[in-house]
């Protein structure tokens, strides 16, 4: 049976640390809401803005697939795997943290804030060797671009989970249909910019919608330059 869960932008958890302003779709750090723990394998969805020249000092992660999508500005990433990389809007970074990795993420600009989406997905394989990857997005409009899949051979980059992520920027009225890649998965839709009608539900900027039991989803952009992120994940985790 089809089921949906709507997360309006203003119902998200919020933390203002001065240097970091973060909205949490799901419970994270000091935001705890037992009704907002995860959407299947999607465990963390943070909408972060980091002040100029500031950032996250070196800290550890393990057994989580972590995807960062800069929306404006750039992040300077350093880790104990030897990576020192700048990721800017139009690129994404992925870490399979496995047995453990330490990293820092700083706003690469001393003048402008940087904003990015931080997404954590439970892995389907524990204790893997940690890895870092980065991909550049295409600049085209009016189609969904695959940025993550489970396969090393597929478009975009990959993670240890039967999950697919797509980004798309659309002109008003250019309708698109998304077909689930794997039966039984769920689809989480987040509007980055503008507004969309998703099947018969209208989403505004920064709203999220989880869909279960819908193999096909129709996205209708209601504004120009409307931007959306789709996250297909397994629903049954552990």
């Amino acid at each position: 049976m089809a089921r949906s869960i709507l997360h309006k932008a203003n119902t998200r958890g919020h933390a203002d640390h001065g240097w970091l302003d973060s909205s949490h779709t799901f419970s994270f750090a000091n935001y705890y809401n037992p009704e907002r723990m995860q959407f299947g394998a999607l465990r963390v969805f943070n909408d972060d803005t980091v002040a100029a020249g500031r950032g996250f000092d070196s800290h550890p992660h393990d057994n989580m697939e972590i995807i960062s999508i800069p929306l404006s500005g750039a992040l300077e990433h350093k880790d104990n795997l030897g990576n020192r990389v700048i990721t800017k809007a139009g690129e994404i970074q992925v870490m399979s943290t496995g047995t453990g990795v330490f990293h820092s993420e700083y706003n690469a600009s001393k003048e402008e804030p940087a904003s990015f989406l931080q997404i954590w997905i439970y892995p389907n394989k524990l204790n893997v060797p940690p890895r870092y990857d980065q991909v550049k997005l295409s600049t085209g409009k009016n189609h969904l671009q695959q940025i993550i899949s489970p396969s090393t051979e597929d478009a975009g980059t990959w993670i240890y989970q039967d999950a697919w992520l797509h980004l798309g920027r659309f002109d008003k009225g250019v309708q698109t249909t998304y077909q689930l890649k794997k039966e039984g998965n769920g689809l989480y839709i987040f509007v980055i910019r503008g507004s969309f009608r998703i099947n018969d539900v209208q989403l505004e900027e920064r709203d999220g919608l989880g869909l279960e039991g819908s193999t096909e989803t129709v996205l209708t952009p209601l504004t120009d330059d409307a931007e959306v992120l789709l996250i297909e994940v397994p629903l049954l985790i552990r």
Binding site: R43, H61, N63, F102, N127
Partner: protein, 108 residues
């Protein structure tokens, strides 16, 4: 729930991460934590002290998880045993609060 005193045992193979975990588990006023990197050290700690929660961190295989869970449950059937994901502070508090909220009622 936040005022409940909790004693937490965390087991993981990554020594550097367990140092961070030790700091995180001992930071809140109402938590105390012991962190170890071997199963033998975990069992020794379990036999010496009463724990409310055991967290299984990175590097613990499913087979080791099963063996540790069986050993710990024999000694304390009410013990909460959970996998800890993410390696740091992001999910730690949430995992513990959710586990406490959903712990089995012993009268059932």
């Amino acid at each position: 729930m936040e005022t409940t005193q909790l004693h937490i045992l965390a087991i993981g193979r990554n020594e550097e991460i367990m140092v961070v975990m030790n700091r995180l588990l001992n930071a809140p006023n109402n938590w105390t934590g012991v962190t170890v990197t071997t199963d033998d050290a975990a069992i020794a700690a379990f036999e010496k002290e009463h724990f409310d929660i055991v967290l299984l961190c990175a590097g613990i295989t499913p087979e080791e998880e099963a063996a540790l869970t069986a050993r710990f449950r024999t000694g304390n059937p009410q013990l909460i045993i959970r996998r800890h994901y993410g390696g740091g502070s992001g999910l730690l508090k949430n995992e513990i609060l959710y586990a406490l909220d959903n712990r089995p009622n012993p009268s059932n």
